[in-house]
Each structure stands twice: as structure tokens, then as C-alpha cells.
């Protein structure tokens, strides 16, 4: 149904998508997963030309829609989209949001359009909100209306761009249920999502995207249970990392701490671990302080859920120096604290880079 070949997209010098080739068949539900900023949404937006690809081709039923003569609005009617931020028309009531497309674009008469809209609202469970305005609905309700609005146009495929990311956790499932229902009914869908369980359950095929590429693709079983590539594995293993760069002795300590805290919160680390981690980072930076002016420091925190291990990597480019070496310390106090908090500390020099890996003690 949709064949994408050698699709690439650049924003200025920034290459977001490079050479993507994929085929989407009728009735398929495709989940697109991957870290943030790897071009998942851009790929989706390139499909309906909200962002115009820089090169490559997209053919729908054999017709290349990137050609100048292609009737893009017509194509889009068959390929509607659900946005992360809902984008309901705020000046129109729920019912009017559903009818404006059919009336204006399909020349459907108003009565028919309203009847159909009401049916669709029933489908998503919001028939009683027909006369309300978008700003009177909750996030989950808005997103369900948005899905109904897509359905009102009788699309052949629906593109979901992170449909639950902007939702309160309590509302995620009501939206997912609606999508699941559509999947059962055989609607062709492409879904960019961070809900891994959902992706595993609902899709026929999962695309793992990283660095602007479809890094790995396969069935849900293949991707989630037996990923072949390292990055996929890391992602699937829910290895998350937090990176912070310090380029001067006057770095913003509070901003860094906030980021570390946010990371800890996301990984649901215990309070004590968080406190120890902050203390460890602060002491390490004390030791690094004399070198910060000449050698920028790259801090990477990573946590493996499976191993329950918290790892801190400090990398600095420049002359070979280990700040933790005894001969360079003004006093021993800092090092004692670090040693108390760390399970292991290892220094190595790789390609002009000093690397110190600290493994946190489990608390």
C-alpha cells in the first residue's frame, strides 16, 4: 500500500532521516519505537508530507506523492493523523470537529455528517460530549475525539504521533483501548509510541529507529525478546542514560542536580540512592575542578534495570591525567567519601580520553 524508498530528511545541515526504505501493507499495525530525537515523528510527518522529504520517494498504491502533480490534499484525506497535542479545532464543538471535514471536503450533507459523527463518538465513548467545546474536555477525551475525527474522514491509514505522550498517566489506557479496538477491526495504522507494552501487544511489526535510520525491524517478539543489535538491546533493556557536559569551573550545579534527580525519579531509584549519587557527583567534580578549565568533562549516568546497577562514567579529553590519583589531591577527604560510595572505580585512557568509571554501591 505504501512504499517508502531511500527517504531522507534534512533540516538545514541537520540530517534527521537518512535513507529509509520500508513498505507498509494494508491491515498492518506498525509501531515505531526508539530514543527521543531519532526522527520517529519526522518519519511519520514525512509520510503525509507535513514535512517534505529532502529526497527519496513515497508511493501510495503505486503513485509517487512527491511528484509535483500529485494531489497532496486528496492523499492526506486517505491518511489522517492523530497528534501528540490533539489539535482539536478550538472554535468548534466536538460534533463540529467531526463534521467539518466530511462537510467541507467530502461535500457530505450536514445531517448525514452529524449522524455519522455521533456514531463515531459512540464508538470512542463520547457521544454525550457532542455539544461541548474542546477546552471543556480532559486530555484523554480530547485524544479520543481526535481519533474519532480521523475516522470521520474514512481514512485508509491512520498515523499516530505519540498519542499518549501528552497525557496524564491515568488517561493513557482509555486512549490505548480505543486504538486497540481499531487494530482489532483491521485499521491500518502507524504508531509512534513510548508505550512498549502497548507496542508489543498491538502491532504486527515493530520498527526500532535510531540515528535517523530504521535500525532494526521485526515482529514484536523478535524486537522485544531477542533484539539482534546492541542499541536495540540497550533500548529494550531499558537502559537509560543521562548525560551532562561541564565545560567550565562555573558550571550550573543546580541545573545538573535537577537533571540527575529527574533521571533518578524516572528510573524509580530509592531516595537514598539518589542522595548518594548527588553526593558522589559533587565530590567527583571537586576533584575534577582544577582541570575543568582546560578539559571539559562529560558525565554519563546509566542504570540497568535488570542488573539494578548504577554506573557513572566521567570522560575528559586532553592530557593523560587521573584526577583521582593520590599525588594530585589537596587532601584525602574527598577520595574517602567517593570510595565509601563506590563499589568500584576504574581509570583507563582510551584515544586521548581519560575515562573514570564508578559503579555505585547498592544501597
Amino acid at each position: 500500500m505504501i512504499t517508502v524508498e531511500h527517504l531522507s530528511k534534512k533540516f538545514g545541515d541537520l540530517v534527521v532521516l537518512k535513507d529509509i526504505t520500508i513498505e507498509i501493507n494494508k491491515g498492518e499495525v506498525i509501531s515505531i519505537i526508539g530514543p527521543s530525537g531519532t526522527g520517529k515523528s519526522t518519519f511519520l510527518r514525512c509520510l503525509n508530507l507535513l514535512d517534505r522529504p529532502s529526497s527519496g520517494s513515497i508511493s501510495i498504491d503505486g503513485v509517487n506523492i512527491l511528484e509535483a502533480k500529485a494531489d497532496v490534499p486528496k492523499v492526506r484525506q486517505k491518511m489522517n493523523m492523530v497528534f501528540q497535542s490533539f489539535n482539536l479545532f478550538s472554535h468548534l464543538s466536538v460534533l463540529e470537529n467531526l463534521t467539518i471535514g466530511p462537510i467541507k471536503l467530502r461535500a457530505m450533507n450536514k445531517q448525514e455528517a452529524e449522524q455519522k459523527a455521533l456514531n463515531l463518538l459512540k464508538l470512542v465513548g463520547l457521544a454525550e460530549k457532542a455539544d461541548n467545546y474542546p477546552d471543556e474536555l480532559s486530555g484523554g477525551q480530547k485524544q479520543r475525539v481526535a481519533i474519532a475525527r480521523c475516522l470521520a474522514m474514512d481514512p485508509e491509514i491512520i498515523l499516530f504521533d505519540e498519542p499518549t505522550s501528552a497525557l496524564d498517566p491515568t488517561m493513557v489506557s482509555e486512549v490505548l483501548s480505543v486504538i486497540r479496538r481499531l487494530a482489532k477491526e483491521g485499521m491500518t495504522m502507524a504508531i509512534v509510541t513510548h508505550e512498549m507494552d502497548f507496542a508489543r501487544d498491538v502491532s504486527n511489526r515493530v520498527l526500532y529507529m535510531d540515528e535517523g535510520l530504521i535500525y532494526e525491524e521485526g515482529t514484536p517478539q523478535q524486537i522485544f525478546e531477542n533484539p539482534r543489535k546492541e542499541k536495540t538491546r540497550a533500548f529494550i533493556n531499558r537502559i537509560r542514560s543521562c548525560n551532562y557536559q561541564i565545560s567550565s569551573p562555573d558550571y550550573d550545579l543546580y541545573a545538573m542536580n535537577a537533571e540527575i534527580e529527574a533521571f533518578c525519579e524516572k528510573q524509580i531509584l530509592p531516595r537514598k540512592t539518589r542522595h548518594n549519587l548527588l553526593l558522589l557527583v559533587e565530590e567527583l567534580l571537586q576533584l575534577y575542578n582544577p582541570f575543568l578549565r582546560t578539559m571539559p568533562l562529560d558525565l554519563t549516568l546509566s542504570y540497568s534495570e535488570k542488573k539494578e546497577s548504577l554506573e557513572l562514567v566521567c570522560e575528559s579529553k586532553g592530557e593523560a591525567v587521573n584526577p583521582l590519583a593520590h599525588n594530585l589531591l589537596p587532601d584525602e577527604l574527598g577520595l574517602i567519601i567517593i570510595n565509601n560510595l563506590a563499589a568500584s572505580i576504574a581509570y583507563s585512557r582510551v584515544n586521548d580520553t581519560n575515562r573514570v568509571i564508578v559503579l555505585m554501591k547498592k544501597s
Binding site: 503525509n48 507535513l50 490534499p73 486528496k74 492526506r76 484525506q77 489522517n80 493523523m81 497528534f83 497535542s85 490533539f86 489539535n87 482539536l88 479545532f89 478550538s90 472554535h91 468548534l92 464543538s93 467539518i100 471535514g101 467541507k104 471536503l105 455539544d131 467545546y133 481526535a146 475525527r149 480521523c150 474522514m153
Partner: protein, 1018 residues
């Protein structure tokens, strides 16, 4: 006891505070007091410069219009205003609490401004001014428009051609009496009439553009107007940008101040100069050491410097200025040719010529130095003429007889003409050489004709400037010059002089000595001094009126009577009897002459007025008919005879005249024979005609109604001014006049009279306190008007009088039209600019950005003038249209940015959703973005729109008469700030409010929630 003391103390403090407050207002009685005062001047006027130069320490405030300054002075923000004499006159006459300091600050030439380079028009205008100066038109203009009293203006009717290219005249019609708008919305005044005269002389129709004074010169430069005639002073500064014609009026800059207590009683209407009693000059020797005015380079100048070495000399350029200088006490004497002085004395009552001449001068013809042949032949002619007594006759005819009507030149005998002699003259020197009725005439001209006849030559006259005569002789452009040339040693070096044909005295012109008594003192003197011309003397009999101010009804028989019987009196004509009575009551005139019957009626209710003596004139009255309608007249006479016989007439006289009844009997009107249109004057007064409860009643009315019933006709009354009744009946607009029409010979020529139906007495009436009666005098004082009454009066004069509400109505329409159309145009243009501004194409968005920054960065007034005077400079264009364009352009710049904010304020997600759904960009904008934008921007748009409505108040700068301009015009006539301003403020508010409501309606309909609420409520 303590309480009482405390109370007394409080009272004392209050009184001191109040009196203290009153004293804090500065009272100015002379220029010295004005040094530290707050002085108001007109922006850009010469008064501004004078104030800066003469009162450097004073606080000078500039105003755009005199009425603003007057309002400021009345409210105590100013102590004095420096303005031109006619304007000050006008203000003082309408504001009795203000008066003008008699001594002028400066004299200026008022002239007509013409675009530089338009020499053709300049020459033509100069020629016309010379012409009307010569024939007395200018003098008459001055007399009729610059009056001290409130008597209505008499405008001369000037027939203008309808066809041809219109002469566009720029005026600032808030400068009464120079130029102002009359009740018909025409521009009139001294300059209005002058403009029409010029138009008539140029055979072109005249079109006035009324604009702000400051806008006039730009308008001239951009060819929006051809001439500026609006009392504009010919300053050097202005001369740089425009050309000025020769001066048509010498304008004094005077200072207007609040009246002091004493000033009120003595100088309110005193002539210029009388406040400063200088030592009067009675003999020639007194002149030395005084201030002498002379004309630059004149023989008088030389003579004066020779005879009065100790005097202070003031060198002026025109004789009229010198006369004014003496009158205004700027100079004590003016030394000049006696013949010219005689003329000045004729026109200026306050001046007199000293009997003893200062010097004698010979007047001769000037001839080119080497043309001795012509010299000897002219000398021969003069010799012969002298012998024949012709020179003597000429002198008698032109100089000594003080002619009232310009003498005619005898016809020229062109029998044996063998050549042409070109004669140069300067035709602004009455009686020698001047313009009268469009032709050059005078002694020199008649003399030249005699020379021509004797020498067998045709004389060709060349009118040129006096200074140009000698160069013209030297270069041979003229053969000889006759222009009251005084023979001087200097001139003898340059030209040849013939024998003197006349001897000219050089005399001194001084102020007439005034009566030694002060006016106040004289009022107390018992016996009346017949000769003293004083206004406040009491009237004992009608004979005392001879030198008083007498009020009459314009065009009435009393008018003629007063003119005939009191030639020395000042006769003031009023348009309506109520004006006349008011004039007598307010002391504007000393006595009025009016119909006895009506007066008796008035006196019934008015204790202030009294009759003087017995009836002075019994006049038969009758109905007036069209001369071709003898039949109707006969019918009336028949009817009159009938009612006289059957006693109806007697009953009428009994009821109306004797009993003073105000009851009108019911008279059944027939309809069978059509309608009888009867002309009347509704405020004639009882018992003849008056309006009571919106019904015409009175003796005349009853008579007319009875007559109509007799004819079996319906009656219709046409209420008009007395002066137009006769015209109306003779043109057939009305069938008959029923308005106590007295029989006069003059009227008989125009209308037929019925038989006399009543004989009416005529009486003199005056304020009782001014009538000398033996015995106790009834003390009647005008009660000060209550607040409500003064509001009512103000409403009357500002809104109702002269149908002034029509001005406001027209202005209102203009303001609404400009506001609405500018909004529509501005919104459309703004949308376009917004589209360009939001475009990613540099060719579109850069111009839009530039447009927005320029338009937002320039005052809309500047833009307005730029568009009118620069962009459309050479196009004749309706200024209202220009206003719409200018305001629209300005509005567009703001609106474009408002739109952009509104559009950008709509989340991009909305657009994306629309596009993703399959809408095109355009339909996404129309269906999704625009409705949301409109709702968002409406509140800001409304605010911008209100500003626009208020901003339109500046269109007066480009000759549009909007609401503000209408109020300016009214204020310029009434000098009352309250009503016009409050009314206009209310109207602006109403316009904004109504237009706002419509926008709010739009706002509601675009608010979806409101729509739903409405549905639910329904």
C-alpha cells in the same frame, strides 16, 4: 457668645479667602502690567513674535485658534491675548468682560498670498486691489465688517460667473470678521467678500477651501488653492514661501485683556486711542519734540526733518498707516501733502489738520532730462492753462471741494491726434491720481488730458510704483510723469521739471482734541449738553436722540425716519424686534424707535424700558399685494369696508389694542377656493403678530384669517424676516403681506397697498434709567441670569441660532463617513499588508515591514497633510476621500500587525491538523485559523477603531468640515466653549458607542460559547 465669635471668625476667613482669590487674577491695564503675565498668542502668528520680543519674561502660550485662547483667558489661564485688531474687536464685542488695550503693539500689512511664480495672478490681484482701493470698495468693506457693535453684517451681493475655471480661495473660516461661516454654511466676512469681488473681477467663479490656518500655505504651494485671503499678515518669513499682493488692510496687533472695574465704565466702547490722553497739539510749534510720522522719502519727510529737528521720526510707507499710527497714539503728527491729508481727515473723524502749513511745495510734471522740446511745449501748455484759469478750476474741482462722489473726467477730444505721449503715474494717490470705478482718474489725469488736447497727442497712461517713475523716465519708457511730483533739489538732478501746476501745502495731521470732561462726570451734570457726543447722557425728549445710537428694524419706516431726522446719530439696524429690544436693554443702543402699539405691549411686562415723548410718526398700515394682483386687493378693501360696517373691526380693535387681549377667536376656514398664502413676521410683537403656544395670534393674524374665511380659502402663513416680505410678495411666493406694513413711497413702487386698516404710532423707547423724568425713578436692574437660563441661552445661540445644529449634523455625517470608510479600507489594506508581511518571500514581506514601520512611525496628521498636499498635489480631489485614504493607510499598518498577532497566536497544531485532514492551505486558513483569529483580535481591533474615530478630528487641516470643525466654527462665532464642546464630546462618544455595539455584536457571534448559550436558552 463664643459660638457667635467663632462664626464671625470663620466668616471673616472665608471672605478674606474669597477676595484673596479674586485678587490673584492679574489685571492688566497697560503693557507694563503684561511683562510677567501669561499671554496667549496664535500659533505661527505675528503676535507670537511680538510677544517674544516685547514681553520676554512673560509666559507665552500658543493656541491654534483665537477661541481656544479666549476660552483659556475666560477660565483664568491667561492674562492677555495678543491678536490682530479685527479679531480682538470681534472677541471684545461678544465677550463683554474682555476689552482691548487701545494702544496697538504693532501694525502689519494684511495681504493676499499667491503661489510663488504665479506672476500673472499676482499682477491681476494687485491691479484689483489698487482698483478697489481707489473706488472706495475696500473702505466700504472695512466699515461693514469691522464694527464695534453686534449689529448684523451687511454683505454686498456679488454676482459671480457660474461658468469657467473656479478660483480656489484658501481661508481659515474661524477668523471672524475676516472670514467665517455664515448660517447658510457659506464662507463670508471681509475676506469672503473680497474674494468674491476678486472672483467677479477676474470673471471666475469662486470656490472656498476652509482649513486650518497653518495648512493654508502648504495648500497654496501644492496648488490646492490659488489664493489665500484670510487676514494673513505679509511677514518676511512668509514672503520666502509665497508671494503677497499689495496690502489690503493694515492690521494692528493689539492686546486683549480682562476688564478691570474702572475700565468697564469708561472704555468699553471708546474709540481707539482715547484711553491715553496725551497733550493735544493745537499749533505747529507744539509738534517739535513729539513723535512725527512721515512717509519714506516724501517731501513731507524732508520738510518735517528740516522744520522739527528735535522730533522723533517714524518712517512709514503708506499714508493710511500714518493715520492709523496717530489714531492709535503711536505718533503725534503726520506731515504730508495737505491734499492727501484732507482725504484722510474725511475718513477719520478723530483727526484734524493744523491750519498753518509746515511748508509749501511746488508740484510739477517730470520729464526726461534731455527732452527739452517736450519740456518747453508742456510749459507752454501750463502757462496757457494758468492764464485761462483752468489750473485753478482743476484745483477747486479735485482738492478744495472735498468731493463726496468722485468727479467725472471730461470726455477727451481726440480730434487732431498726431501721436502718442506716454505718461507715467502712480495711481494710489487720491486726489491726484487714483483708481475709481476701475479707471484711473484724478487731477493729474485730467491735466494730462488737457496737455494731450493742446499738443494734439493721445495720452497713454502707465500705472506704476512711485519709485519706478523716475527710472522709467530715464530709460525712456515714459515721456513724462504726472504724479503729484513735488519739486525737490534731489529730483532735479535726475529729471527735468516743468513749471509748477499746483502749489501743495505740506501740513501736519494730528488728533482732534477731545472734550476735557470725563464721560463719567458728564453723566451727573443735570442739564444736557447738546453738543457733547456722549453716550450715557440722559434722554429727555426725542430731540436728544440727535447724536445718540439709535436702534431700528432693518428696512422699516423707522429706519428711514431715523436716517432723515437724526443724520448725526449712529443708526443701528436690527433684524428682529426682539434683537432691537435686547439691544436697548443691554445698552448697545441708547434708544430704539418702534411701533407704539407693540411697545405698549412690551412695556406691560417690562419695567426697565420706558417711552420717550409722544408718538413721533403716525403711519397708516395696510396689507401688501403683488402689483399684478389687483383683484385680491380689491377683494380685501371690500372685506375691510364690510367688517368696519358690521362692527367686527371695532371689536377687534377693542380686544387687541385697548384691552391687550391675547385670545384668538376661532375662525372657521373654508377650503373651497384654495389656499391664501400670507407672509408675516412671527415675532413682530403684540398686538399685531406673536407666537403663543406654537400658534400665531394677533391683530394681523385675525384680520388675515377673517379675510381668508371671507374668500372661503384655507390660510397658510409664511413666517419670514421683515426684510424679505416685499421681495416675497413681488415674486409671488406669498399672496399678501399681513405684517403691519406702513405705507411708504418706496414700497408703493414694489407692492400695492390695501386701504389703510389701522394707523400706527411710532415711539422712541429707551431704558427707563436713561430717560430723564422728574420725580422718583423706578430702580430696575437686570437680574443676573440664573444658571438654567444661561444654559438655555447658550443652547439657543450655539445650537439653534442660525440653524447651527445643521453644521453639527453635517459634521457628524462627515465624521461617521470618514470613520466607517477608513475602517473598511484600512481593514482590507491591513489584511493585504498582513498577508505580505507573513509571506516568506522577501519581495513581499520586506515592503510590508517597511510600510508598517513608516506608517506606524509617522503622526497621522503629517500623513494626512502629506497625502493631500504632496501626493495629490496636482490632482483636484475631494478632501474627504483623502482623509479616508490617509486614515485607512494608518489604520492598515496597525491592523496588519494586529492580524499577524492574531494569526500567529493560533496554535500551529490547528493548521497542521487541518492540513493533515486534507484541507488546502487556503481552506485551512478560512475555516480553521480565521474564525479563531477574529475572535482573538476583536478586542484590540475595537480599541484601535475607537482611536481612529477620535483621530478623525484632525481632518480640519485639509478643509474637511467634520464634527470638530463644526464646533470650531460655532465657537468662532459665539466664543462660548461650553455647548459646542460638550455637544461634540457627547456626539463622538455616541458614534464610538454605536459603532462599538456593532463590533461587539460581531464579537459575540464569533464566540462559540455564546452561540451555544443562546441555543440552550432558546
Amino acid at each position: 457668645m463664643k459660638k457667635a465669635r467663632l462664626l464671625a471668625l470663620i466668616c471673616l476667613i472665608l471672605v478674606t479667602a474669597v477676595t484673596g482669590c479674586r485678587e490673584s487674577g492679574k489685571v492688566i491695564t497697560g503693557f507694563d502690567d503684561a511683562k510677567n503675565a501669561k499671554i496667549g498668542v496664535m500659533t505661527g502668528s505675528t503676535g507670537e513674535a511680538i510677544a517674544a520680543a516685547r514681553f520676554p519674561k512673560a509666559q507665552v502660550k500658543s493656541f491654534d485658534d483665537i477661541m481656544d485662547a479666549v476660552a483659556a483667558m475666560k477660565s483664568g489661564q491667561l492674562d492677555a491675548i495678543i491678536t490682530s485688531y479685527p479679531l480682538a474687536l470681534q472677541v471684545a464685542k461678544k465677550n463683554p468682560e474682555l476689552w482691548r488695550l487701545p494702544e496697538p503693539l504693532d501694525n502689519e500689512e494684511t495681504a493676499i498670498a499667491i503661489k510663488k511664480g504665479n506672476d500673472e495672478l499676482l499682477t491681476a490681484v494687485n491691479r484689483i486691489i489698487t482698483e478697489i482701493k481707489g473706488d472706495g470698495t475696500l473702505e466700504s468693506l472695512k466699515k461693514r465688517w469691522f464694527k464695534e457693535d453686534l449689529a448684523p453684517y451687511e454683505e454686498m451681493k456679488i454676482a459671480l460667473p457660474k461658468e469657467g475655471k473656479a478660483l480656489k480661495i484658501g481661508v481659515s473660516a474661524t477668523r471672524e470678521p475676516f472670514s467665517f461661516v455664515d448660517k447658510n454654511g457659506r464662507v463670508t466676512g471681509h475676506d469672503g467678500e473680497l474674494a468674491r469681488i476678486i472672483g467677479a473681477k477676474l470673471h471666475r467663479p469662486v470656490e472656498f477651501s476652509d482649513m486650518k490656518f497653518m495648512a493654508l500655505i502648504p495648500a497654496l504651494q501644492s496648488d490646492k488653492v490659488d489664493l489665500i485671503i484670510t487676514g494673513m499678515t505679509a511677514t518676511d518669513e512668509r514672503r520666502k514661501t509665497v508671494d503677497f499682493s499689495q496690502s489690503y488692510f493694515t492690521n494692528a496687533q493689539v492686546m486683549l485683556v480682562k476688564k478691570t472695574g474702572e475700565a468697564k465704565t469708561t472704555t468699553a466702547s471708546a474709540p481707539v486711542g482715547s484711553a491715553h490722553q496725551n497733550e493735544d497739539i493745537k499749533a505747529l510749534e507744539q509738534i517739535d519734540g513729539k513723535r512725527i510720522a512721515v512717509l519714506s522719502g516724501s517731501a513731507g519727510d524732508m520738510a518735517a526733518r528740516k522744520h522739527f529737528p528735535n522730533a522723533q521720526f517714524q518712517v512709514l510707507t503708506a499714508a493710511a498707516d500714518a493715520a492709523l499710527a496717530i489714531k492709535a497714539n503711536k505718533a503725534d503728527a503726520f506731515i504730508y501733502d495737505k491734499s492727501v491729508l484732507l482725504n484722510l481727515v474725511e475718513k477719520n473723524q478723530g483727526l484734524i489738520i493744523l491750519d498753518e502749513p509746515v511748508d509749501k511745495l511746488e508740484v510739477a510734471a517730470a520729464i526726461k532730462r534731455d527732452n527739452t522740446a517736450l519740456l518747453s511745449s508742456i510749459n507752454d501748455v501750463f502757462h496757457d492753462l494758468g492764464k485761462e484759469g483752468a489750473l485753478q478750476r482743476l484745483r477747486l474741482k479735485w482738492i478744495d471741494s472735498k468731493y463726496a462722489v468722485t468727479p467725472q473726467l471730461p470726455p477727451v477730444n481726440n480730434a487732431q491726434v498726431t501721436g502718442v505721449l506716454k505718461m507715467g503715474t502712480c495711481a494710489n494717490l487720491e486726489p491726484f491720481s487714483f483708481q475709481a470705478e476701475g479707471k484711473i482718474t484724478g487731477l493729474d489725469i485730467e491735466l494730462s488730458q488737457l496737455i494731450g488736447e493742446r499738443l494734439g497727442k493721445k495720452i497713454e497712461l502707465l500705472d506704476m510704483n512711485f519709485e519706478a517713475l523716475i527710472p522709467a523716465l530715464q530709460s525712456g519708457k515714459i515721456d513724462f510723469a504726472l504724479s503729484n511730483f513735488n519739486v525737490t533739489e534731489e529730483r532735479k538732478k535726475l529729471v527735468l521739471f516743468t513749471l509748477p501746476y499746483i502749489e501743495n501745502d505740506i501740513s501736519a495731521l494730528v488728533r482732534r482734541s477731545t472734550a476735557p470732561e470725563s464721560p463719567g462726570a458728564q453723566a451727573l451734570v443735570g442739564p444736557i449738553n447738546e453738543t457733547a457726543s456722549n453716550n450715557s447722557t440722559k434722554i429727555t425728549s426725542v430731540a436728544d436722540l440727535s447724536d445718540k445710537r439709535i436702534g431700528v428694524l432693518l428696512g422699516s419706516v423707522h429706519d428711514t425716519y431715523a436716517l432723515e431726522h437724526y443724520p448725526k446719530a449712529t443708526i443701528l439696524q436690527y433684524k428682529s424686534p426682539s434683537d432691537l429690544v435686547l439691544a436697548v436693554k443691554s445698552g448697545k443702543v441708547d434708544a430704539g424707535i418702534y411701533t407704539r402699539e407693540t411697545l405698549i405691549e412690551i412695556l406691560r411686562d417690562d419695567s426697565e424700558l420706558g417711552l420717550v415723548g409722544e408718538s413721533i410718526l403716525a403711519a397708516p398700515i395696510g396689507m401688501g399685494f403683488n402689483r399684478d394682483n389687483g383683484q385680491l386687493r380689491e377683494k380685501f378693501n371690500e372685506f375691510l369696508r364690510q367688517i368696519q360696517q358690521n362692527g367686527v373691526y371695532g371689536d377687534m380693535v377693542e380686544r387687541w389694542m385697548t384691552k391687550g387681549s391675547t385670545q384668538m377667536p376661532e375662525i372657521a376656514q373654508g377650503k373651497a377656493n384654495g389656499v391664501l398664502v400670507v407672509g408675516n413676521v412671527s415675532d413682530k410683537g403684540l398686538p399685531f403678530t406673536v407666537v403663543k403656544d406654537n400658534q400665531l395670534i394677533g391683530f394681523d393674524i385675525e384680520l388675515a384669517e377673517r379675510f381668508a374665511a371671507y374668500l372661503d380659502k384655507d390660510i397658510k402663513f409664511a413666517d419670514m424676516e421683515f426684510g424679505s416680505l416685499i421681495a416675497a410678495v413681488s415674486t409671488g411666493k406669498i399672496d399678501m403681506i399681513a405684517s403691519t406694513l406702513m405705507f411708504t413711497e418706496e414700497r408703493k413702487k414694489k407692492v400695492d397697498f390695501s386701504d389703510q386698516y389701522y394707523a400706527m404710532g411710532t415711539n422712541v423707547f429707551a431704558l427707563k434709567k436713561n430717560i430723564a423724568v422728574p420725580g422718583p425713578m423706578a430702580e430696575a436692574r437686570t437680574p443676573s441670569l440664573s444658571f438654567m437660563q444661561s444654559i438655555a441661552n447658550s443652547f439657543q445661540s450655539n445650537i439653534l441660532q442660525e440653524n447651527r445644529y445643521l453644521l453639527i449634523w453635517d459634521g457628524l455625517k462627515t465624521t461617521v463617513i470618514i470613520s466607517v470608510l477608513a475602517t473598511v479600507f484600512g481593514t482590507l489594506l491591513g489584511a493585504l499588508v498582513c498577508f505580505m508581511r507573513m509571506s516568506k518571500n522577501g519581495a513581499l514581506n520586506v515592503p510590508a515591514k517597511i510600510y508598517i514601520s513608516i506608517l506606524r512611525g509617522t503622526p497621522v496628521l503629517v500623513l494626512l497633510m502629506l497625502i493631500f498636499y504632496v501626493v495629490f498635489a496636482s490632482v483636484s480631489i475631494d478632501p474627504v476621500f483623502v482623509a479616508i485614504i490617509a486614515f485607512g493607510m494608518n489604520f492598515a499598518a496597525y491592523v496588519a500587525e494586529i492580524f499577524r498577532t492574531g494569526i500567529e497566536g493560533v496554535d500551529t497544531g490547528q493548521t497542521e491538523a487541518g492540513i493533515a485532514m486534507g484541507f488546502t492551505r487556503v481552506s485551512t486558513f478560512l475555516y480553521i485559523v480565521l474564525p479563531q483569529t477574529v475572535r482573538r483580535i476583536l478586542p484590540i481591533f475595537k480599541g484601535e477603531f475607537i482611536s481612529l474615530v477620535k483621530m478623525t478630528s484632525i481632518v480640519g487641516y485639509i478643509a474637511v468640515q467634520d464634527l470638530t470643525k463644526a464646533s470650531d466654527i460655532i465657537r468662532s462665532r459665539t466664543f462660548d466653549a461650553f455647548f459646542p464642546l460638550v455637544m461634540v464630546a457627547i456626539l463622538y462618544f455616541l458614534i464610538s458607542w454605536i459603532l462599538m455595539q456593532s463590533l461587539e455584536y460581531l464579537e459575540r457571534t464569533t464566540d462559540p460559547k455564546f452561540k451555544r448559550r443562546k441555543v440552550r436558552n432558546a
